[in-house]
Protein backbone atom coordinates (compact mmCIF):
# COMPACT_ATOMS: atom_id res chain seq x y z
CA UNK A 1 0.00 0.00 0.00
CA UNK A 2 2.93 2.29 0.62
CA UNK A 3 3.85 4.70 -2.11
CA UNK A 4 6.81 6.98 -2.19
CA UNK A 5 6.47 10.37 -3.81
CA UNK A 6 10.06 11.39 -3.28
CA UNK A 7 11.19 10.58 -6.77
CA UNK A 8 8.22 12.38 -8.33
CA UNK A 9 8.96 15.66 -6.58
CA UNK A 10 11.56 17.68 -8.44
CA UNK A 11 12.85 19.72 -5.49
CA UNK A 12 12.04 19.37 -1.82
CA UNK A 13 11.42 22.51 0.18
CA UNK A 14 11.42 21.89 3.92
CA UNK A 15 9.30 24.33 5.89
CA UNK A 16 8.63 22.26 9.00
CA UNK A 17 11.50 23.29 11.26
CA UNK A 18 9.20 23.15 14.26
CA UNK A 19 9.15 19.37 13.89
CA UNK A 20 12.87 18.96 13.48
CA UNK A 21 15.73 20.46 11.52
CA UNK A 22 18.52 19.03 9.47
CA UNK A 23 21.76 18.78 11.47
CA UNK A 24 24.55 21.02 10.22
CA UNK A 25 27.30 19.21 8.29
CA UNK A 26 29.82 20.25 10.96
CA UNK A 27 27.56 18.72 13.59
CA UNK A 28 27.54 15.36 11.83
CA UNK A 29 31.25 15.57 11.20
CA UNK A 30 31.94 16.19 14.87
CA UNK A 31 29.73 13.28 15.88
CA UNK A 32 31.12 10.53 13.67
CA UNK A 33 34.41 9.97 15.54
CA UNK A 34 32.38 9.30 18.71
CA UNK A 35 30.54 6.58 16.85
CA UNK A 36 33.81 4.94 15.90
CA UNK A 37 37.33 5.36 17.36
CA UNK A 38 36.15 7.41 20.33
CA UNK A 39 33.50 4.92 21.31
CA UNK A 40 34.56 4.61 24.96
CA UNK A 41 32.35 5.38 27.92
CA UNK A 42 33.07 8.72 29.58
CA UNK A 43 32.80 6.91 32.92
CA UNK A 44 35.61 4.51 32.12
CA UNK A 45 38.79 5.04 34.04
CA UNK A 46 41.07 4.04 31.21
CA UNK A 47 42.32 5.87 28.13
CA UNK A 48 39.33 4.98 25.98
CA UNK A 49 37.15 6.93 28.39
CA UNK A 50 39.29 10.01 28.15
CA UNK A 51 38.35 11.42 24.76
CA UNK A 52 34.62 10.98 25.35
CA UNK A 53 34.89 12.51 28.83
CA UNK A 54 36.65 15.56 27.49
CA UNK A 55 34.14 15.83 24.67
CA UNK A 56 31.30 15.87 27.20
CA UNK A 57 33.04 18.58 29.13
CA UNK A 58 33.43 20.71 26.04
CA UNK A 59 29.80 20.21 25.02
CA UNK A 60 28.70 21.23 28.49
CA UNK A 61 30.60 24.47 28.11
CA UNK A 62 29.21 25.10 24.64
CA UNK A 63 25.64 24.57 25.80
CA UNK A 64 26.22 26.68 28.89
CA UNK A 65 27.58 29.49 26.75
CA UNK A 66 24.48 29.49 24.54
CA UNK A 67 22.25 30.31 27.50
CA UNK A 68 24.85 32.16 29.58
CA UNK A 69 24.98 29.50 32.26
CA UNK A 70 27.95 27.82 33.95
CA UNK A 71 28.75 24.44 32.42
CA UNK A 72 28.33 22.81 35.84
CA UNK A 73 24.64 23.66 35.78
CA UNK A 74 23.89 21.79 32.56
CA UNK A 75 22.42 18.29 32.74
CA UNK A 76 22.28 16.35 29.52
CA UNK A 77 19.15 14.40 28.66
CA UNK A 78 17.91 12.40 25.69
CA UNK A 79 15.98 15.40 24.41
CA UNK A 80 13.70 18.29 25.17
CA UNK A 81 10.77 16.18 26.25
CA UNK A 82 12.86 14.35 28.79
CA UNK A 83 14.31 17.66 29.98
CA UNK A 84 10.80 19.01 30.49
CA UNK A 85 9.76 15.86 32.33
CA UNK A 86 12.82 16.06 34.55
CA UNK A 87 12.21 19.74 35.24
CA UNK A 88 8.54 19.48 36.09
CA UNK A 89 8.42 16.14 37.87
CA UNK A 90 11.89 16.47 39.32
CA UNK A 91 11.32 19.90 40.86
CA UNK A 92 7.80 19.15 42.06
CA UNK A 93 8.70 15.82 43.67
CA UNK A 94 11.78 17.29 45.34
CA UNK A 95 9.72 20.14 46.81
CA UNK A 96 6.57 18.27 47.69
CA UNK A 97 7.04 18.62 51.43
CA UNK A 98 6.74 22.37 51.01
CA UNK A 99 3.56 22.19 48.97
CA UNK A 100 1.79 20.48 46.13
CA UNK A 101 0.58 23.25 43.87
CA UNK A 102 1.80 24.02 40.38
CA UNK A 103 1.06 26.98 38.13
CA UNK A 104 1.39 26.63 34.38
CA UNK A 105 -0.36 27.79 31.22
CA UNK A 106 -3.00 26.42 28.91
CA UNK A 107 -0.65 26.42 25.94
CA UNK A 108 2.30 24.40 27.20
CA UNK A 109 3.56 21.51 25.16
CA UNK A 110 2.34 18.05 26.10
CA UNK A 111 5.70 17.34 27.72
CA UNK A 112 4.89 19.85 30.45
CA UNK A 113 1.15 19.38 30.36
CA UNK A 114 1.21 15.62 30.73
CA UNK A 115 3.94 15.76 33.36
CA UNK A 116 1.68 18.02 35.38
CA UNK A 117 -1.24 15.66 34.80
CA UNK A 118 0.90 12.78 36.07
CA UNK A 119 1.73 14.78 39.18
CA UNK A 120 -1.96 15.38 39.76
CA UNK A 121 -2.33 11.64 40.16
CA UNK A 122 0.27 11.87 42.92
CA UNK A 123 -1.80 14.49 44.74
CA UNK A 124 -0.61 17.73 43.19
CA UNK A 125 -3.02 20.49 42.17
CA UNK A 126 -2.56 22.69 39.14
CA UNK A 127 -3.73 26.09 38.01
CA UNK A 128 -3.70 26.48 34.23
CA UNK A 129 -3.50 30.13 33.28
CA UNK A 130 -5.10 31.13 29.97
CA UNK A 131 -3.69 33.26 27.19
CA UNK A 132 -4.84 36.23 25.12
CA UNK A 133 -5.75 36.19 21.44
CA UNK A 134 -2.06 36.21 20.50
CA UNK A 135 -1.33 33.22 22.68
CA UNK A 136 0.43 35.31 25.30
CA UNK A 137 0.09 34.76 29.01
CA UNK A 138 -0.32 37.72 31.34
CA UNK A 139 2.51 37.66 33.91
CA UNK A 140 0.24 39.17 36.52
CA UNK A 141 -2.28 36.38 35.97
CA UNK A 142 0.46 33.86 36.63
CA UNK A 143 1.48 35.70 39.80
CA UNK A 144 -2.13 35.86 40.91
CA UNK A 145 -2.40 32.10 40.58
CA UNK A 146 0.44 31.57 43.05
CA UNK A 147 -0.67 30.17 46.40
CA UNK A 148 1.04 29.51 49.70
CA UNK A 149 1.60 25.92 48.66
CA UNK A 150 2.87 26.66 45.16
CA UNK A 151 6.23 25.02 44.55
CA UNK A 152 6.60 25.23 40.79
CA UNK A 153 5.73 27.67 38.03
CA UNK A 154 6.29 26.45 34.47
CA UNK A 155 5.89 28.84 31.53
CA UNK A 156 7.30 28.24 28.06
CA UNK A 157 9.70 30.68 26.41
CA UNK A 158 7.91 30.38 23.11
CA UNK A 159 4.85 28.54 21.96
CA UNK A 160 5.38 25.41 19.88
CA UNK A 161 2.53 26.10 17.51
CA UNK A 162 2.12 29.80 16.94
CA UNK A 163 5.61 30.85 18.00
CA UNK A 164 4.42 33.52 20.42
CA UNK A 165 7.10 34.57 22.90
CA UNK A 166 6.04 34.52 26.52
CA UNK A 167 7.04 37.20 29.03
CA UNK A 168 9.02 34.75 31.13
CA UNK A 169 11.37 37.30 32.71
CA UNK A 170 8.41 39.24 34.02
CA UNK A 171 6.75 36.04 35.24
CA UNK A 172 9.90 35.05 37.12
CA UNK A 173 10.25 38.52 38.64
CA UNK A 174 6.69 38.61 39.91
CA UNK A 175 6.73 35.03 41.19
CA UNK A 176 10.05 35.41 42.96
CA UNK A 177 8.79 38.61 44.59
CA UNK A 178 6.01 36.58 46.14
CA UNK A 179 8.15 33.63 47.20
CA UNK A 180 11.76 33.09 46.30
CA UNK A 181 11.59 29.38 46.94
CA UNK A 182 9.11 28.73 44.16
CA UNK A 183 11.00 27.04 41.35
CA UNK A 184 10.48 28.77 38.01
CA UNK A 185 10.86 26.58 34.94
CA UNK A 186 10.83 27.69 31.34
CA UNK A 187 10.36 25.24 28.51
CA UNK A 188 12.88 26.59 26.05
CA UNK A 189 12.71 23.70 23.60
CA UNK A 190 11.37 25.87 20.81
CA UNK A 191 13.21 29.05 21.66
CA UNK A 192 16.75 28.16 22.64
CA UNK A 193 19.00 28.38 19.61
CA UNK A 194 16.46 30.54 17.78
CA UNK A 195 16.56 33.68 19.91
CA UNK A 196 19.05 34.97 22.50
CA UNK A 197 18.46 33.38 25.89
CA UNK A 198 20.17 34.33 29.14
CA UNK A 199 19.15 32.39 32.23
CA UNK A 200 20.09 35.23 34.56
CA UNK A 201 18.27 37.86 32.56
CA UNK A 202 15.25 35.57 32.55
CA UNK A 203 15.66 34.80 36.24
CA UNK A 204 14.52 31.21 35.82
CA UNK A 205 15.71 28.26 37.87
CA UNK A 206 15.22 25.63 35.22
CA UNK A 207 15.38 25.83 31.44
CA UNK A 208 14.89 22.96 28.98
CA UNK A 209 16.35 22.79 25.51
CA UNK A 210 16.73 20.32 22.70
CA UNK A 211 19.40 19.99 20.02
CA UNK A 212 17.39 19.00 16.98
CA UNK A 213 15.55 22.31 16.86
CA UNK A 214 18.71 24.26 16.21
CA UNK A 215 20.44 22.01 13.70
CA UNK A 216 21.81 19.56 16.21
CA UNK A 217 21.01 15.85 16.25
CA UNK A 218 18.04 14.02 17.66
CA UNK A 219 18.66 12.27 20.98
CA UNK A 220 20.27 15.09 22.94
CA UNK A 221 18.81 17.84 25.05
CA UNK A 222 19.66 19.54 28.29
CA UNK A 223 18.21 20.95 31.43
CA UNK A 224 19.77 23.98 32.98
CA UNK A 225 19.31 23.88 36.74
CA UNK A 226 20.39 26.83 38.83
CA UNK A 227 22.73 25.97 41.68
CA UNK A 228 20.82 24.82 44.72
CA UNK A 229 17.65 23.82 42.91
CA UNK A 230 16.77 20.32 44.01
CA UNK A 231 15.58 17.74 41.52
CA UNK A 232 14.37 14.20 42.02
CA UNK A 233 15.88 12.23 39.13
CA UNK A 234 13.57 10.89 36.48
CA UNK A 235 16.00 8.17 35.44
CA UNK A 236 17.72 6.55 38.39
CA UNK A 237 20.73 4.32 38.45
CA UNK A 238 24.13 5.91 38.10
CA UNK A 239 26.55 8.69 38.82
CA UNK A 240 26.25 10.22 35.36
CA UNK A 241 25.22 13.86 35.11
CA UNK A 242 25.98 14.35 38.77
CA UNK A 243 23.35 11.83 39.78
CA UNK A 244 20.62 13.85 38.08
CA UNK A 245 20.32 11.56 35.06
CA UNK A 246 21.56 8.01 34.93
CA UNK A 247 22.54 6.15 31.78
CA UNK A 248 25.59 5.86 29.60
CA UNK A 249 25.93 9.28 28.03
CA UNK A 250 24.96 9.48 24.37
CA UNK A 251 28.33 11.01 23.56
CA UNK A 252 27.93 11.43 19.79
CA UNK A 253 24.60 13.22 20.16
CA UNK A 254 25.87 15.37 23.02
CA UNK A 255 28.91 16.34 20.98
CA UNK A 256 26.55 17.30 18.17
CA UNK A 257 24.46 19.33 20.59
CA UNK A 258 27.59 21.17 21.69
CA UNK A 259 28.64 22.07 18.18
CA UNK A 260 25.10 23.12 17.27
CA UNK A 261 24.97 25.31 20.38
CA UNK A 262 28.25 26.95 19.50
CA UNK A 263 27.15 27.66 15.94
CA UNK A 264 23.79 28.99 17.13
CA UNK A 265 25.45 31.36 19.56
CA UNK A 266 27.91 32.59 16.95
CA UNK A 267 25.36 33.09 14.19
CA UNK A 268 22.35 34.09 16.25
CA UNK A 269 21.85 37.61 14.93
CA UNK A 270 22.49 36.72 11.32
CA UNK A 271 20.20 33.73 11.41
CA UNK A 272 17.39 35.66 13.06
CA UNK A 273 17.60 38.45 10.53
CA UNK A 274 17.64 36.05 7.62
CA UNK A 275 14.91 33.70 8.79
CA UNK A 276 12.53 36.39 9.95
CA UNK A 277 13.14 38.29 6.72
CA UNK A 278 12.07 35.27 4.71
CA UNK A 279 9.15 34.66 7.02
CA UNK A 280 7.94 38.26 6.74
CA UNK A 281 8.07 38.12 2.99
CA UNK A 282 6.17 34.86 2.93
CA UNK A 283 3.59 36.19 5.37
CA UNK A 284 2.98 39.38 3.43
CA UNK A 285 2.82 37.49 0.18
CA UNK A 286 0.34 34.90 1.37
CA UNK A 287 -1.94 37.44 2.99
CA UNK A 288 -1.92 39.40 -0.27
CA UNK A 289 -2.54 36.40 -2.48
CA UNK A 290 -5.09 34.47 -0.46
CA UNK A 291 -8.25 36.07 0.79
CA UNK A 292 -9.87 35.08 4.04
CA UNK A 293 -6.82 33.95 5.91
CA UNK A 294 -5.77 34.75 9.43
CA UNK A 295 -2.23 34.78 10.82
CA UNK A 296 -2.11 33.25 14.30
CA UNK A 297 0.23 34.21 17.10
CA UNK A 298 1.72 37.51 18.08
CA UNK A 299 2.41 39.96 15.22
CA UNK A 300 5.89 40.87 16.47
CA UNK A 301 6.71 38.88 19.59
CA UNK A 302 7.11 35.68 17.67
CA UNK A 303 9.86 33.17 16.87
CA UNK A 304 11.69 34.24 13.72
CA UNK A 305 10.69 31.35 11.46
CA UNK A 306 7.08 30.91 12.53
CA UNK A 307 4.05 31.44 10.36
CA UNK A 308 0.81 29.80 11.42
CA UNK A 309 -2.10 30.66 9.15
CA UNK A 310 -5.71 29.61 9.24
CA UNK A 311 -7.25 29.38 5.79
CA UNK A 312 -11.00 29.52 5.56
CA UNK A 313 -12.93 26.78 3.83
CA UNK A 314 -10.28 24.11 3.51
CA UNK A 315 -8.91 21.42 5.73
CA UNK A 316 -5.27 21.25 6.81
CA UNK A 317 -4.34 17.66 6.19
CA UNK A 318 -5.36 17.75 2.55
CA UNK A 319 -3.56 21.05 2.12
CA UNK A 320 -0.44 19.60 3.66
CA UNK A 321 -0.55 16.53 1.42
CA UNK A 322 -1.04 18.54 -1.77
CA UNK A 323 1.79 20.86 -0.83
CA UNK A 324 3.98 17.90 -0.07
CA UNK A 325 3.22 16.33 -3.42
CA UNK A 326 4.32 19.64 -4.89
CA UNK A 327 7.55 19.34 -2.90
CA UNK A 328 6.79 21.61 0.06
CA UNK A 329 6.80 20.15 3.58
CA UNK A 330 4.69 21.98 6.15
CA UNK A 331 2.70 21.00 9.25
CA UNK A 332 -0.90 21.50 10.21
CA UNK A 333 -2.90 21.96 13.40
CA UNK A 334 -5.75 20.04 11.81
CA UNK A 335 -7.07 17.07 13.73
CA UNK A 336 -6.62 14.83 10.68
CA UNK A 337 -2.94 15.69 10.47
CA UNK A 338 -2.25 14.65 14.04
CA UNK A 339 -1.55 11.10 15.11
CA UNK A 340 -3.85 11.62 18.06
CA UNK A 341 -6.61 12.87 15.68
CA UNK A 342 -7.17 15.81 17.99
CA UNK A 343 -7.49 19.43 17.00
CA UNK A 344 -4.98 21.96 18.24
CA UNK A 345 -5.38 22.84 21.91
CA UNK A 346 -3.27 25.92 21.39
CA UNK A 347 -5.52 27.37 18.69
CA UNK A 348 -8.48 26.54 20.91
CA UNK A 349 -6.89 28.35 23.87
CA UNK A 350 -6.23 31.37 21.66
CA UNK A 351 -9.86 31.38 20.63
CA UNK A 352 -9.49 30.52 16.96
CA UNK A 353 -12.78 29.36 15.52
CA UNK A 354 -12.99 25.57 15.39
CA UNK A 355 -13.66 25.32 11.67
CA UNK A 356 -10.93 27.79 10.88
CA UNK A 357 -8.53 25.83 13.09
CA UNK A 358 -9.11 22.79 10.85
CA UNK A 359 -7.66 24.81 8.01
CA UNK A 360 -4.47 25.78 9.79
CA UNK A 361 -1.09 25.41 8.22
CA UNK A 362 2.08 25.78 10.26
CA UNK A 363 5.00 26.95 8.18
CA UNK A 364 8.30 27.11 10.03
CA UNK A 365 11.33 28.37 8.20
CA UNK A 366 14.94 27.68 8.98
CA UNK A 367 18.42 28.68 7.98
CA UNK A 368 18.41 26.29 5.05
CA UNK A 369 15.49 28.05 3.37
CA UNK A 370 16.18 30.39 0.47
CA UNK A 371 14.51 33.21 -1.38
CA UNK A 372 13.70 30.73 -4.12
CA UNK A 373 11.85 28.61 -1.54
CA UNK A 374 9.71 31.58 -0.66
CA UNK A 375 9.01 32.28 -4.32
CA UNK A 376 7.90 28.72 -4.87
CA UNK A 377 5.78 28.69 -1.73
CA UNK A 378 4.10 31.93 -2.79
CA UNK A 379 3.14 30.27 -6.01
CA UNK A 380 2.18 26.82 -4.78
CA UNK A 381 0.29 27.59 -1.60
CA UNK A 382 -2.29 29.93 -3.19
CA UNK A 383 -2.77 27.46 -6.03
CA UNK A 384 -3.42 24.56 -3.68
CA UNK A 385 -5.77 26.69 -1.60
CA UNK A 386 -7.72 27.66 -4.69
CA UNK A 387 -8.04 24.05 -5.82
CA UNK A 388 -9.23 22.86 -2.45
CA UNK A 389 -11.62 25.73 -2.00
CA UNK A 390 -13.26 24.75 -5.27
CA UNK A 391 -13.93 21.34 -3.77
CA UNK A 392 -15.16 22.76 -0.52
CA UNK A 393 -18.86 22.67 0.29
CA UNK A 394 -18.42 25.41 2.87
CA UNK A 395 -16.12 27.99 1.33
CA UNK A 396 -17.91 31.15 0.33
CA UNK A 397 -21.23 29.70 1.34
CA UNK A 398 -21.17 30.01 5.05
CA UNK A 399 -20.34 32.57 7.62
CA UNK A 400 -16.82 33.77 8.06
CA UNK A 401 -15.07 32.34 11.03
CA UNK A 402 -12.65 35.12 11.83
CA UNK A 403 -12.68 36.84 15.14
Amino acid sequence: MAMTQTTAAPRRIYMDHAATARPLPEVVEAMVPYLSEEYGSPQSFHTQGSGPAHALKQAREQVGALIHAPATQITFTSGGIEANNLAVKGAALAAQRRGKHIVTTEVEHYAVHHSVKFLEKLGFETTFVGVDGYGRVDPQAVADAVRDDTVLVSVQLANQEVGTLQPVAEVARLVKAINKRIVVHADGTYAVGQIPVDVDALGVDLLSLTAHRFYGPKGAGALYARKGVRLTPLIHGGVQENGKRAGTENVPAIVGLGVAAERAAAEMEARMARVSGLRDRLERGLVERIENVQVNGHPTERLPGYLDISIEGIEGEGTLVRLDLDGIAVASGSACASMALKGSQVLHAIGVDEVLAQGSILITLGIDNTDADIDDALEEIPRVVETLRKMSPIYGKRKHYFR
Binding site: M1, A2, M3, T4, Q5, G313, I314, E315, E317, G318, L320, V321, R322, D324, L325, S334, A335, C336, A337, M339, L341, G343, E354, V355, Q358, K390, M391, S392, P393, I394, Y395, R398
Partner: protein, 137 residues
Protein backbone atom coordinates in the same frame (compact mmCIF):
# COMPACT_ATOMS: atom_id res chain seq x y z
CA UNK B 1 1.75 7.90 9.70
CA UNK B 2 3.01 9.57 6.58
CA UNK B 3 0.72 10.46 3.73
CA UNK B 4 2.99 8.17 1.76
CA UNK B 5 1.12 5.38 3.50
CA UNK B 6 -1.83 6.26 1.31
CA UNK B 7 -2.24 3.96 -1.69
CA UNK B 8 -1.47 5.22 -5.17
CA UNK B 9 -5.20 5.13 -5.90
CA UNK B 10 -6.02 7.33 -2.94
CA UNK B 11 -3.45 9.86 -4.04
CA UNK B 12 -4.72 9.71 -7.60
CA UNK B 13 -8.33 10.35 -6.60
CA UNK B 14 -7.23 13.11 -4.24
CA UNK B 15 -5.09 14.88 -6.80
CA UNK B 16 -7.45 14.26 -9.72
CA UNK B 17 -10.86 14.04 -8.16
CA UNK B 18 -13.61 12.69 -10.40
CA UNK B 19 -17.04 14.29 -10.44
CA UNK B 20 -16.09 17.23 -8.31
CA UNK B 21 -18.52 20.11 -7.97
CA UNK B 22 -22.24 20.59 -7.84
CA UNK B 23 -24.39 18.61 -10.25
CA UNK B 24 -26.69 20.76 -12.37
CA UNK B 25 -29.42 18.16 -12.69
CA UNK B 26 -29.15 16.73 -9.22
CA UNK B 27 -32.38 15.47 -7.81
CA UNK B 28 -30.89 13.95 -4.67
CA UNK B 29 -28.52 15.60 -2.26
CA UNK B 30 -26.92 14.30 0.90
CA UNK B 31 -24.88 16.27 3.41
CA UNK B 32 -23.00 14.69 6.29
CA UNK B 33 -20.22 15.62 8.68
CA UNK B 34 -19.33 18.86 10.37
CA UNK B 35 -16.60 21.28 9.44
CA UNK B 36 -15.68 21.76 13.09
CA UNK B 37 -14.76 18.07 13.17
CA UNK B 38 -12.72 18.47 10.02
CA UNK B 39 -14.91 16.55 7.60
CA UNK B 40 -17.96 17.59 5.68
CA UNK B 41 -19.40 16.36 2.41
CA UNK B 42 -22.17 17.28 0.03
CA UNK B 43 -23.09 14.54 -2.41
CA UNK B 44 -25.22 15.17 -5.47
CA UNK B 45 -27.05 12.46 -7.40
CA UNK B 46 -29.06 12.50 -10.58
CA UNK B 47 -31.50 9.63 -10.30
CA UNK B 48 -33.52 8.35 -13.21
CA UNK B 49 -36.05 5.77 -12.23
CA UNK B 50 -34.14 3.16 -10.29
CA UNK B 51 -30.74 4.24 -11.52
CA UNK B 52 -28.15 6.74 -10.49
CA UNK B 53 -27.16 8.27 -13.81
CA UNK B 54 -24.78 10.87 -12.46
CA UNK B 55 -23.09 11.76 -9.19
CA UNK B 56 -20.81 14.43 -7.85
CA UNK B 57 -19.42 15.75 -4.58
CA UNK B 58 -18.01 18.68 -2.72
CA UNK B 59 -15.87 17.79 0.27
CA UNK B 60 -14.16 19.68 3.04
CA UNK B 61 -11.78 17.20 4.57
CA UNK B 62 -8.59 15.29 4.44
CA UNK B 63 -6.99 13.36 1.62
CA UNK B 64 -8.88 10.21 2.50
CA UNK B 65 -12.21 11.98 2.70
CA UNK B 66 -11.76 13.58 -0.71
CA UNK B 67 -10.49 10.39 -2.32
CA UNK B 68 -13.40 8.46 -0.85
CA UNK B 69 -15.87 10.99 -2.21
CA UNK B 70 -14.35 10.83 -5.62
CA UNK B 71 -14.19 7.05 -5.72
CA UNK B 72 -17.70 6.68 -4.41
CA UNK B 73 -19.17 8.93 -7.08
CA UNK B 74 -17.38 6.85 -9.71
CA UNK B 75 -18.71 3.65 -8.24
CA UNK B 76 -22.35 4.67 -8.04
CA UNK B 77 -22.70 6.02 -11.54
CA UNK B 78 -24.97 3.61 -13.35
CA UNK B 79 -25.78 1.74 -10.17
CA UNK B 80 -29.31 0.89 -9.13
CA UNK B 81 -30.60 2.63 -6.03
CA UNK B 82 -30.92 -0.73 -4.32
CA UNK B 83 -27.27 -1.58 -4.99
CA UNK B 84 -26.18 1.89 -3.93
CA UNK B 85 -28.04 1.47 -0.68
CA UNK B 86 -26.01 -1.63 -0.08
CA UNK B 87 -22.69 0.03 -0.88
CA UNK B 88 -20.52 -0.16 2.22
CA UNK B 89 -17.54 1.84 3.45
CA UNK B 90 -15.52 -1.31 3.00
CA UNK B 91 -16.38 -1.44 -0.69
CA UNK B 92 -15.10 2.07 -1.24
CA UNK B 93 -12.05 1.42 0.90
CA UNK B 94 -11.27 -1.70 -1.08
CA UNK B 95 -11.75 0.08 -4.38
CA UNK B 96 -9.08 2.50 -3.18
CA UNK B 97 -6.69 -0.37 -2.36
CA UNK B 98 -7.19 0.19 1.32
CA UNK B 99 -6.65 3.05 3.73
CA UNK B 100 -4.14 3.54 6.54
CA UNK B 101 -5.72 2.38 9.82
CA UNK B 102 -5.92 5.93 11.17
CA UNK B 103 -7.98 6.98 8.20
CA UNK B 104 -10.56 4.25 7.91
CA UNK B 105 -13.14 6.27 9.78
CA UNK B 106 -12.96 8.84 6.97
CA UNK B 107 -14.46 6.35 4.54
CA UNK B 108 -17.69 6.20 6.51
CA UNK B 109 -18.42 9.74 5.39
CA UNK B 110 -18.80 8.94 1.71
CA UNK B 111 -21.09 5.96 2.23
CA UNK B 112 -23.10 7.87 4.80
CA UNK B 113 -23.57 10.81 2.41
CA UNK B 114 -24.67 8.47 -0.35
CA UNK B 115 -27.22 6.74 1.83
CA UNK B 116 -28.39 10.07 3.14
CA UNK B 117 -28.95 11.34 -0.39
CA UNK B 118 -30.89 8.23 -1.41
CA UNK B 119 -32.98 8.31 1.73
CA UNK B 120 -34.02 11.93 1.30
CA UNK B 121 -34.68 11.31 -2.39
CA UNK B 122 -36.98 8.42 -1.57
CA UNK B 123 -38.78 10.39 1.07
CA UNK B 124 -39.40 13.16 -1.39
CA UNK B 125 -40.65 10.71 -4.01
CA UNK B 126 -42.86 9.01 -1.47
CA UNK B 127 -44.32 12.35 -0.49
CA UNK B 128 -44.98 13.06 -4.19
CA UNK B 129 -42.64 15.99 -4.30
CA UNK B 130 -40.59 14.36 -7.02
CA UNK B 131 -41.98 13.60 -10.44
CA UNK B 132 -41.19 10.29 -12.12
CA UNK B 133 -41.98 6.87 -10.91
CA UNK B 134 -40.02 4.77 -8.57
CA UNK B 135 -40.86 1.52 -10.19
CA UNK B 136 -39.05 -1.28 -8.53
CA UNK B 137 -39.00 -0.02 -4.99
Amino acid sequence: MQHTDYSAKVIDHFMNPRNMGELENANAVGTVGSPACGDMMDIYLEVEGDEIVDASFKTFGCTAAIANSSMMTEMVKGMSLADAENLKNRDIEEALDGLPPHKIHCSTLAADALHEAIKSYKERVASGAEEGEVAAS
